[in-house]
């Protein structure tokens, strides 16, 4: 029963919102995802709002800052990635688990060049970088540990190493690399000997 997401989202206000407010938030996030993917970090808030079918004012009510929106977007990715890790843990073979995880990640990244694009511009203080959140690190660590123990990857590969490999993977895919192949390189990089 590992890793249940806490009921209150870490960053946003904990108060239970009205139904339409929550729906708006979703629509904005979705629009943001799409807009970033299409246009890159240059998207304008107005465009995102229009895409979401709300006024800018509404957008700003949910995300007081462009950076806040990006942060939320990243957080979503992180959460998805945590979920993937959890799913990986359900596999029998620790080696297979990690292979699946990398390919899964690569595939997701292939769909969201804009997100990575946005990330590379934003300077999260080391503290609230979602990729460095406790949950994220813990979930990665779980998969890594199993793989290390099983000898599927080198013993010296740390969580940090892993995160940065993922970061690099994202970048190359964003630039047009073939997800499958780049994923293979990552795996090769961490395989023993």
């Amino acid at each position: 029963m590992a890793g249940q997401t806490s009921p209150a989202p870490a960053t946003a206000e904990a108060r239970p919102q009205r139904a339409d407010a929550r729906r708006n938030r979703e629509r904005i996030l979705e629009a943001g995802r799409k807009a970033f993917a299409d246009t890159g970090r240059g998207v304008q808030m107005d465009d995102i709002a229009r895409l979401a079918g709300v006024g800018v004012g509404t957008l700003y009510r949910h995300f007081p800052t462009k950076e806040d929106l990006v942060l939320a977007l990243v957080q979503q990715s992180v959460e998805a990635s945590i979920a993937s890790a959890r799913e990986a843990l359900t596999r029998e073979d620790p080696g297979e688990a990690i292979e699946w995880l990398v390919h899964e990640a690569a595939e997701k990244m292939a769909r969201s060049r804009g997100l990575r694009d946005a990330m590379s511009g934003i300077e999260f203080g080391d503290d609230n970088n979602p990729w460095q959140s406790k949950d994220k690190r813990r979930s990665s660590e779980a998969v890594l540990e199993r793989a290390r123990d099983a000898g599927a990857i080198r013993a010296d590969v740390t969580v940090d190493d892993w995160q940065w490999l993922m970061c690099g993977l994202a970048a190359s895919i964003a630039d047009g690399a073939d997800p499958e192949r780049q994923a293979e390189f990552v795996l090769a990089a961490v395989r023993p000997r």
Copy 2:
């Protein structure tokens, strides 16, 4: 003996400029390099001009557009990278050569935010992306080929693979990874077996 580049800079038209003009151009490029390294793609033209100790007008005389300047800057990086490749070729051991090359590249990336931006950023139509110039590709190919032939790297590693690995390297370093260690992962990724 592939990958020789003509000694004359490919960047600018060869018109013989006045001495001071040429010097200013150099100063601007240097300032641009520095500003670009510190601030990334977001640099402001006025700042570069001030840093170079010239008026904006002068800057614009040499580079009619911000994009032109950025392009020239990137081109310089590319040329430096080509030079590194050439230097790598002077080493006896092909394996050592490629190791040196990766570490050298990582170090440079660590020093320049602009370089990182440029390597992972896109912004260039696939056509005039300096990183995809013939010269650049040829020089990478030369090093790779020797390494492949010597069995220092896998036989199936293409230039494209290589460029994307470098791109990923840049991204992870941009995000704070240790250049040395990430370089090692890249090497591990391409090593045989």
Copy 3:
């Protein structure tokens, strides 16, 4: 009964704006009118904005381009001129009507440098020159026709002749001529015999 224009302003799209937005638009136009009258085509957007008591952004929301604003302003002049023509038509005596019209025009020109600029300046592709709009030409024609029929002016005076006489009138007034007297010359030029 030629030359009727719909009461709705031909200038802007008919979207029903918020009250304050409409008011701002009016204020901007008024400020533009004034600034244009004083300074001519050289007006600066910032000045107009300040004069209107709004931010530049607002100005640009209403008129995405300086040229757009100028065009709208000119269009207003044209409309005023059409209105004058309509008023002229209400006079009993066709000769008196045209006399009144010329003097009226001269007076307006004397008051607005921008109007003078616009009338003699070109800047508009022949197609969307508001002075050559159907409405404008039709309204002039109506007055001219009546005058021709009544023998108040020569039978061979065309609308084009008329427009150009007005253009010349504007120029001379711009250069300092006495509006009244120049108007008289125009009338003398078209009178029979």
Copy 4:
């Protein structure tokens, strides 16, 4: 023997220049004429210089200011117009003389939209407006007087009237009016009765 041009040009320095300097001056004036005609008041000094085949520096040596250049250009027109007036005076018939003069002027104007364009933008203080120079006024007056005395034009037409009629003529022609026809209107405007 009226109206001989003083040997020293009114505005420029009276010192006899080196032959090449004088030639440069001529070339600049010619280029200016052409450039203004083609591009209107927006021409850039650099362009004029290039067209003249000299450096900007040279241009500025001859005309310290863009306005100075325009002034010189206008002055040339004025001088040509004075010459025309002188030629008109050689005709037997005073009425024919003035007719010829107007048509001649109209034709010249037809060729130089840009010049008029430039004029309308420049605010010569009433003092150094070349069109109001003594020579110019005197030469116009000579033709007018003869015409008045002969009853070819109305007795009340003053030099000022005349100048402004010419100004209007220029404007309408600049805007595309047919020179011949507009000239006729001017003549009609001043003819007795």
